[in-house]
């Protein structure tokens, strides 16, 4: 029997997978470190759907999932995909801030040694570092029912928020469907509530995943197989 959903992405897939299980969804998961996504090792593959260069272990993971999907490509019309790729903020935001660059007026005023990076610069930086992933996601979106889940909003005003918004805008503009849980799970102008945070403070916990999947089910973005 095919799963209800295939969860593919980086470390944020853990919460999404937990959420699927909490709601009784049949789900398969492929999780690769954000570093593999960021470095371009994870690529679209015409036969397998997704492939990881230079990692036999991860390639085997992919083949194992393919087997469980009856030999299908991971990217097919038969199985909706929940994705957490393309953002990988932990790989892009810290180096961007290495020379104390900030992207909002408040942070610039607070840190008198900071430098401001314009919106155009942030866009160019995003395109340079995420361009291949944007292409991959667009191809996946053409071939399968793909919904990317925007990472949890951990800070209201920061480079993380700016990069998340910039990447989300790029993806939306290219026709990729996004689901942003913060619109519902965060109060206006506030970050994610502490009850939804994993102990590391960087990811959502099981409750968060459950809340996200619950919202997506209620909005019809995913559904149990056989349910109409």
């Amino acid at each position: 029997m095919l799963p209800d959903v295939l969860v593919i992405g980086d470390s944020h897939t853990t919460a999404l997978m937990a959420g699927c299980q909490a709601h009784g969804l049949q789900a398969e998961m492929l999780r690769f470190s954000g570093n593999f996504w960021h470095s371009g090792h994870v690529q679209f593959h015409p036969q397998h759907g997704v492939w990881v260069r230079r990692s036999k272990a991860m390639q085997q993971q992919i083949m194992d999932v393919r087997d469980r999907l009856g030999g299908r490509s991971l990217v097919s019309r038969d199985i909706p995909i929940l994705g957490s790729m393309a953002f990988n903020l932990g790989r892009i935001v810290p180096p961007f801030g290495f020379n104390r660059h900030v992207t909002d007026a408040g942070s610039f005023a607070e840190d008198t040694e900071s430098s401001y990076a314009s919106q155009a610069l942030v866009s160019a930086y995003v395109d340079a570092t995420r361009g291949p992933q944007f292409l991959m996601v667009r191809r996946m979106a053409r071939l399968a029912s793909l919904t990317l889940v925007v990472p949890p909003k951990l800070r209201v005003r920061s480079n993380y928020a700016t990069f998340s918004d910039t990447i989300a805008a790029r993806l939306r503009a290219s026709g990729v469907r996004l689901f942003d849980p913060s619109a519902t799970l965060c109060n206006e102008g506030e970050a994610l509530q502490a009850q939804y945070l994993a102990p590391d403070g960087l990811h959502g916990n099981t409750d968060y995943g459950s809340a996200v999947i619950g919202l997506m089910l209620s909005e019809g973005l995913i559904m149990r197989r056989g349910a109409d």
């Binding site: 961007f96 610039f108 160019a124």
Partner: protein
């Protein structure tokens, strides 16, 4: 003939034949000796016209400490850093062609002029900075975006003044454009690369010697108020003007421009021990070089020319003072130098755009 006269005991370099003709281009020596003993790890901040861009890169290539007070964000791809004018001058001022514009920048850094008072030029739905109209490849998204970017530049410009040992400024033009009502100088004539020209608002200025000297003197006073120890090294760009709005033939206008700037620079250097003049202009533009160092357009200076100038610069420097800035910073700056050396050199000279208005 009397043997006793003031010329009798002068060195060979005081005479054209022995100092220039007999020496030949490659034998020229003693063109410049720095007034100052600088620390071994002296920091140089560079600003001014196009030619100053060459100077910053040449300093880095020679393992000198070029102060980058406004570096690009970490891991910015080199092509993006270049497109956004990082690593060109010590802060992202863009080219500062006139003394009037330098004074504007210095006033902002000294908190004597509100950076937000500087004009913004509409560019479709977006905005350009009237004192840095092409600092980014895309115009700013909003007034806040522009104001924050300019404030960031001002912050870095001030940092470069307070942290440097030598503030190098290359004078480029006497001609410029201002807002007739406010007196705000522009980096370029509105309507050439950005902005919209309005003859009722925009006024041509061909700054004369007194005006240039006054502007530079005021700018330097503000700089010394921020950093009393900083030395100021003036140079004049050997790059001829692209176009003149003075009404003169461009060759005549160029001579006026360079002569005036050269005279101001020399007189300021003679009048104050904290100011020096480095004769890069003479090395490139005067008879011994026979225009060897100009590209076929007789304007751009070829890399060999920059190298020639920088070799003389290094020979004339005195870096025998004890290191003043510590090993950690020096190592970091050397690393920056190494990375910069790997970048493709492509100077950005907005003034060149004027050539496209040449109907001939």
């Amino acid at each position: 003939m009397s043997a006793a006269n003031p010329y009798a005991d002068l060195p060979p370099t005081a005479f054209w034949r022995s100092g220039v003709v007999d020496a030949g281009l490659w034998g020229l020596a003693g063109l410049w000796t720095s007034k100052w003993q600088l620390p071994a790890d002296a920091r140089f901040a560079t600003y001014g016209s196009c030619f100053a861009q060459s100077m910053s890169r040449a300093l880095l290539a020679r393992n000198m400490v070029w102060l980058d007070a406004e570096p690009a964000p970490g891991r910015t791809p080199p092509d993006i850093a270049q497109a956004f004018n990082y690593g060109v001058f010590s802060a992202r001022t863009g080219n500062i062609y006139t003394a009037a514009l330098l004074l504007t920048h210095v006033r902002m850094a000294a908190n004597l002029l509100d950076p937000a008072s500087i004009e913004a030029w509409p560019d479709g739905e977006r905005l350009r900075d009237s004192i840095r109209p092409v600092i980014e490849p895309v115009a700013f998204a909003s007034r806040e975006d522009l104001d924050l970017s300019r404030a960031s530049m001002v912050r870095a410009f001030r940092r470069s003044i307070t942290q440097t040992d030598v503030f190098v400024f290359t004078l480029g033009l006497t001609e410029g454009w201002e807002n007739g009502a406010t007196g705000q100088p522009y980096a370029l004539c509105p309507g050439t690369m950005a902005g919209t020209f309005d003859p009722d608002i925009h006024v041509f200025r061909n700054y004369d010697y007194p005006a240039i000297r006054r502007a530079l003197s005021e700018a330097f006073d503000h700089i010394w108020a921020m950093n009393p120890a900083v030395r100021i090294l003036l140079t004049v760009s050997p790059v001829p003007v692209t176009a003149t709005a003075s009404g003169d033939h461009v060759l005549v206008a160029n001579t006026y421009t360079k002569s005036t700037l050269r005279a101001v620079a020399g007189d300021l250097a003679r009048s104050d021990a904290r100011i020096d003049y480095f004769p890069g202009y003479e090395m490139i533009s005067q008879p011994p070089s026979r225009a060897t160092f100009y590209a076929p357009n007789l304007r751009n200076v070829v890399p060999q020319g920059v190298s020639f100038v920088m070799d003389h610069f290094l020979k004339g420097l005195d870096l025998s003072g004890p290191a003043a800035h510590g090993a950690t910073m020096a190592a970091a700056e050397r690393e920056t130098a190494m990375l910069r050396d790997m970048e493709v050199e492509e100077l950005v000279c907005e003034e060149l755009v004027l050539e496209k208005f040449n109907a001939s």
